[in-house]
Symmetry: C2
């Protein structure tokens, strides 16, 4: 059992994850391990015959997991969303379905899982030295404005709360640690800190502009004379845009020895939307992360 | 001796580094170690009395290093630049001088170190697993356009050449690995690849859009069906803007176990412009990197 699973795994939770188009090798492999370790349970929506033959070929134990036989992609997504609406499932996971198609079912105004929030991606990274960070938004919003960033912060706070951070420290990352009107990231960061100070953003501490070194290293913050309580103590790393968050999250996955998992937040349940290129570990971690969040909400 | 110094250190080179406002604890400490290991030589421009007392207090051996006594910051910078123009020094280093003031002397149209290129920052990172990457531009250009990025690539190639990469692979990093007109990074990346294919960018291979995973991991590239020769084999990671490059470079410094050093390129000599918050290691590594580049040019 990895450190990530030890940290994130929830053995007592009985909520289920609805897997959309479950006839997917990778996803089923993660499902069988999660089930085996009693760390998550599932409802598989997809082509029953294919699901069973994949399980047989790969020697995967999916005994006892409910299967809803459905061959149409769109209908599979709709069924899974309905399971969540009816509280039969508490998280959604992408199998062999086009992302856009699944998200359309999620965002459907009448029968979807919309809330008053926008959707955003939250990556949870455990560094080799034990430090933990929530990185956002590496997958959904290209160039979020301040209003969108307020939502992105809330979504990340929900994940941090589930992992025990009652009032997480949010660093609004920029290339520099001071306001520069020529750099939009610093303009947004200043506005977000002001919104926090005026009480419009709550349940967390927000600081910015901060550069990554000042956000994660107390020494670096002290060197630059930054005394802000978030500096050197950041939990949530709010990146300026998709380019920045994507590169940061992927650097931790591919260029350090971090353990990571991620979820999409902002809908009425956490959504597991891993990429084809993601390792099997990351897929499993993301399942545990979603279960943890669903379990926390259930409490 | 660290892996970085083993990789980058040049013992046979006799070029000197001009240190601007050398009355600086941190800089002098790096100077004394570099000198002791015969890995670089210096000319110290600054307040002689202060330089000598700092050396004495910190037990630093600066015996035999030339000192030019000058108390004025601006004049110190001008003297150091002149030493490079007269080929008495082959690299420039920032001591206790304001960056803007030093760069003004470098960029002076009549007596500076201008070339036909813009200045840009190149970070060299050695990951724990031995992989090496050149990251650019984490410090100089806020939102470079395609023309500027052509120069930034050339500057990074000069550093890569000095470290033995004759025709480095340049990945134009984006959040996605395909063209999307809504994402400027992918528009630039496509244009840069076209300029390379038409022969306007030479002495390297350029590919983009690539996401960081496809750039550094062959497995991830294969998963996404990318067969480009740069994919999974990138040496130079060209980031879209300052926010992105800064966060990537700092993530490798502060959130992985990489060894790093950096230089400013594009002037007639490499410039060492480390930050107050940089560790002593990084300062030393940057000195070696600049020496290596100067030595390579000298060949």
């Amino acid at each position: 059992m990895t450190d990530f699973i030890k940290r994130v795994g929830t053995s007592s939770y009985e909520g289920k994850i609805a897997l959309v188009c479950a006839h997917d090798d990778d996803a089923l492999q993660a499902v069988s391990v999660a089930k085996k370790n009693k760390l998550a349970d599932f409802v598989l929506v997809g082509i029953k015959k294919s699901i069973e033959s994949i399980a047989k070929e790969n020697n995967l134990d999916i005994e006892g997991i409910e299967i809803i036989d459905e061959s149409d992609e769109k209908t599979s997504a709709e069924i899974a969303v309905k399971l969540v609406r009816e509280k039969k499932c508490s998280a959604l996971m992408k199998g062999l379905v086009q992302t856009a198609l699944m998200m359309k079912a999620v965002l459907n105004k009448d029968n979807g899982l919309r809330t008053d929030r926008i959707l955003s991606h939250v990556g949870f990274c455990m560094l080799k030295d034990g430090q933990e960070y929530f990185i956002t938004d590496a997958a959904m919003n290209i160039e979020p404005n301040v209003e969108a960033k307020k939502c992105i912060i809330k979504n990340a706070c929900d994940v941090a709360n589930a992992l025990g951070y009652e009032e997480p420290n949010v660093a609004c990352l920029c290339a520099k640690e001071y306001y520069d009107e020529k750099m939009l990231a610093t303009v947004h960061a200043k506005q977000l800190q002001e919104l926090y100070l005026s009480g419009e953003i709550t349940n967390c501490k927000v600081s910015g502009p901060l550069a990554l070194d000042n956000a994660v290293s107390k020494e670096a913050a002290i060197c630059k004379g930054i005394t802000d309580p978030v500096a050197g103590n950041a939990n949530i790393l709010l990146c300026h845009d998709l380019d920045t968050a994507n590169v940061l999250y992927k650097a931790l996955i591919y260029m350090s020895e971090s353990q990571t998992g991620s979820v999409i937040m902002g809908a009425s349940c956490p959504i597991i939307l891993t990429s084809r290129a993601d390792s099997w570990d990351i897929k499993l971690n993301s399942i545990f992360l979603a279960s943890k969040i669903a379990s926390f909400r259930h409490l």
